[in-house]
Symmetry: D2
């Protein structure tokens, strides 16, 4: 299956549709049903001690699944998260960027499911895992 | 069981320990194993269309469970979220503050579990539900 | 909103559509968007030590949300679980029936969300909490 | 890290400690932080239409994470599930055995986290995904 959007198209879409958060993320690689997104860690993402906050990790996983879906079906700003489950497993490395490896497990007519592993850059053991369900609006 | 911290003590703790986010929240009420926290919705919490973002709702649920635990056991900055499950059920009302009603279902020696319902102020149907597990460090 | 099915109608439906498991459960009470279901604990639901197994608790929560939905929308055997999150918080009382208090938080056109608290009969502190999402087939 | 228990030792343990369910499962392969377990699908695991039930899938994922943990740390019957999140994504193939590919993402002093993909034998697309947290009792 060909990609509907590549890294350039997804990046442009993110800046147009979500200018509030687009500067937080860099889309590094997109493949069929898979994406890698980087959180460009800045002061606003940190907790005391310099580690990336839970909400920032949630945001990274959420945008990754969203973009991985759009890469397959094209720009659909109205897809919405309906469920998320996250396990926070290790303390992030202080100040490091965070990398999210995401793959789409199901891309149905109305629901899509993706799962993510989140890593501090340069550290092998994952910091968190997340699974997300998106509801895809009609009109596809 | 008496509360270890009341609204005033929790608010002061939040500002001392998490100055980055303390301005986002107002603790409205605390009771045994329960708390109500308000997200003081501002531009930075919104998505296009003016609705509160998923990460902001995650942050509200997360801080609510954390503060409800501290209300029972006292200031323990090192308690950490280990798991979160959220269902996003309805679109938030544009621009409205969000209210989180949280209760603690388990407060064990090493794990605590809380659940939350999130509402847009003035709207009866819940926007989201969340359950959170916290790991409590030794030394209690 | 009037109930589409009462305890008698739901019990008959359960026996007709799911004869394999109908004997495991007793529907105790049904109200708008809420139900109470009892697991008639038997040897096959137990783990060593006499406590109800995780899969049996999952089954109880799952059937409760399903029946609570059907009580509102009528017999729709094809509604399917799409997501479940469970927290197991305490050890069940040995050999006791288990009671599930369930309420529907959202009953949408295609998705419904319910949450459950599970108790060992006669014990106040909940054994488990669960949230479930059901996908409702078209044709409603 | 060497395995503390291999397929033979895990199979024996399962039959000794959980005779009620041991006949349901075949441990196919165990590696460091990973296991493959088969549900030997029988009438008692099925729903109308011949598809494996949700509770049976929960049980398969649960036992897989449990056995993968024991493979690393040795026989510890008292490890207990504290949280489970499952996404049911596709209908299982009627009557087919179900295969669970599980890996351990974290094996800490008190908590372990595993994730699973469940497949109907002979079908490539996964039927379900699950993540499980286990609490490991002291004395390791």
């Amino acid at each position: 299956m060909a990609l509907a959007m590549d890294v350039t198209a997804l990046t442009r879409f993110l800046h147009d549709a979500f200018p509030q958060v687009a500067e937080d993320f860099a889309i590094e690689e997109v493949r069929e049903n898979a994406i890698r997104v980087r959180l460009l860690t800045a002061e606003r993402h940190l907790r005391p001690g310099g580690t990336v906050s839970g909400p920032s990790m949630f945001a990274l996983a959420d945008v990754s699944v969203y973009l991985a879906i759009l890469a397959m079906i094209g720009p659909r700003a109205l897809a919405v998260t309906t469920n998320c489950s996250i396990d926070f497993m290790r303390k992030p490395a202080a100040g490091a960027d965070m990398i999210c490896d995401c793959r789409i497990l199901k891309l149905g007519r109305v629901l899509a499911v993706g799962e993510c592993l989140l890593f501090s850059e340069g550290v092998e053991a994952p910091v968190a895992r997340a699974s997300m369900t998106y509801s895809i609006p009609p009109g596809r």
